[in-house]
C-alpha cells in the first residue's frame, strides 16, 4: 500500500481545495451591514484630529471621554483598580509655569507617523495602517507591555481582567494591550470618531490631513498648532491649538 502521500497527490488535493474555497467564497453573503470599505486603505490619506483647547470646555472633554467609553465599551471593568482600568482618552489640566495659564485638553493615542510602540513591538501586533491610524492587532499581542513602556503619551492600557459582552465592533480581552483606535470602524464607513461627534462645535476637527480641501488641513494652515512632545519628532496625527 502507498504509505506516503506523494507530491502529485498533494498538489491535486490542495488545488481541488483551493477551487472549492473560491466557489464557497463567492457563495457566502449574509445580512448586509451598512457599509463599507471594500478596498485596502492607502497612504494617500492621513487621518488626524485638531483639538482647540481654547474652544473646548471641560464639560466638552468629559463628554468626549464618555462618548468613547460608550462607543468602545471600556471603563466598566469590575476588578481592576483605578490605575489598572483602561483609559483610552483622558482629561488633562495643564498650567503654564511662566504665565499661569491653565488649559484643558483631551489626551489619547496621538497616532504618530513614527510610532515608538510600533517600533518596539516584538510581534508586529502594534501596527500603523496605511492611512496613519495606529492600532493593536490583538490576535498577535502577547501582552508584553513593551509598547506601553515606549509610548511617550501614556496612551495605552493593558486589560487586567477577563471581559465579557464587548462591543461587536471592538473586540477587547484580558492580557492584551489596547488604545484609542480613532474609531477606525466608523472612519471606514465614512463617519467621524465618537469623541469628535460628541463635541457640537468646531473645537475638535477630524479629517484627512493631506487633503487640501479638508477643514482640518485648512484650519491647520491658518491657526498656530502644536504637537505634544514635538521634540521627539514623531509627527503626531493629533494636533492641539491654544496650548
Amino acid at each position: 500500500m502507498n504509505k506516503t502521500l506523494n507530491r502529485r497527490d498533494f498538489i491535486k488535493t490542495t488545488s481541488a481545495t483551493t477551487i472549492g474555497v473560491a466557489t464557497v467564497a463567492s457563495g457566502i453573503t449574509l445580512t448586509t451591514f451598512a457599509s463599507t470599505n471594500k478596498v485596502p486603505v492607502t497612504n494617500e490619506k492621513r487621518w488626524g484630529m485638531l483639538i482647540d483647547t481654547n474652544k473646548l470646555t471641560e464639560a466638552g472633554i468629559d463628554g468626549m471621554v464618555s462618548a468613547c467609553q460608550e462607543e468602545q465599551g471600556w471603563g466598566s471593568e469590575l476588578h481592576s483598580t483605578g490605575s489598572q482600568k483602561p483609559g483610552w482618552i483622558k482629561k488633562l489640566k495643564v498650567k503654564d509655569k511662566a504665565t499661569g495659564k491653565v488649559s484643558n485638553l483631551a489626551l489619547m493615542c496621538q497616532h504618530c507617523e513614527e510610532p515608538p510602540c510600533v517600533d518596539v513591538c516584538p510581534t508586529n501586533a502594534s501596527m500603523k495602517r496605511e492611512d496613519g491610524i495606529v492600532l493593536v492587532d490583538k490576535h498577535l499581542c502577547i501582552g508584553c507591555r513593551y509598547c506601553m513602556m515606549a509610548c511617550p503619551y501614556d496612551a495605552r492600557s493593558f486589560v487586567h481582567e477577563a471581559l465579557r459582552n464587548q462591543k461587536e465592533h471592538m473586540p477587547r480581552g484580558k492580557g492584551t494591550v489596547e488604545s484609542c483606535t480613532m474609531c477606525v470602524h466608523k472612519v471606514d464607513k465614512g463617519e467621524v470618531p465618537a469623541c469628535v461627534a460628541s463635541v457640537n462645535s468646531d473645537a475638535v476637527i477630524f479629517g484627512d490631513l493631506y487633503d487640501a480641501s479638508s477643514k482640518i488641513n485648512q484650519t491647520l494652515r491658518t491657526v498656530q498648532s502644536a504637537q505634544i512632545r514635538a521634540d521627539l519628532n514623531l509627527n503626531t496625527g493629533v494636533r492641539y491649538s491654544g496650548i
Binding site: 474555497v21 467564497a25 457566502i28 451591514f33 470599505n37 492587532d137 470602524h185
Partner: protein, 123 residues
C-alpha cells in the same frame, strides 16, 4: 497509511458534526432548503483560515466586507434561551462553536476578545 488516517479523521469529524447544535438562524436556513455554505466540508475544515484571512484584511487594511465576518458566524449560529429571551454565548458549553471544539480538543481563542452574542438591540 495516510489515506487510512484521512478516512479515520473524516469519520471522527463527521461523527462530531452529526449532532451539532446549529443555531437558530442557521437551522432555519437549512430547513428552508437554502444553501448558505456551498461546501459544508470545506467550511468545517478550513473556517479558521477564512477567518484569519478576513481578520488581517479588516484590521490591517480596513477592508470591511461581510464575507467570513465573525460577526456573521455568531449572529447566524447563536441560540436563544426561550425562557428569558437571552442569547447563549456561542462559546458556551453545548453551543455551536464549543460543541465541536470541545469534542476535538481544539482550543479556540476568538472569544477572549470577540463578542459571543449578536450586538445589542438585534433580535
Amino acid at each position: 497509511m495516510n489515506r487510512l488516517l484521512i478516512v479515520f479523521l473524516t469519520l471522527l469529524v463527521s461523527s462530531v458534526f452529526a449532532h451539532t447544535n446549529l443555531g437558530e438562524q442557521a437551522s432555519s436556513i437549512k430547513a428552508s432548503g437554502k444553501v448558505f455554505h456551498e461546501s459544508i466540508s470545506i467550511i468545517r475544515k478550513i473556517h479558521p483560515e477564512f477567518l484569519r484571512h478576513k481578520r488581517d484584511k479588516t484590521l490591517r487594511q480596513g477592508v470591511r466586507t461581510d464575507e467570513y465576518s465573525l460577526k456573521g458566524c455568531v449572529s447566524c449560529h447563536v441560540n436563544k434561551d426561550k425562557t428569558n429571551n437571552q442569547y447563549y454565548s456561542v462559546d458556551k458549553k453545548g453551543q455551536f462553536c464549543s460543541d465541536c471544539h470541545e469534542q476535538v480538543s481544539v482550543s479556540l481563542d476568538c472569544f477572549s476578545c470577540h463578542r459571543t452574542i449578536p450586538k445589542e438591540g438585534s433580535l
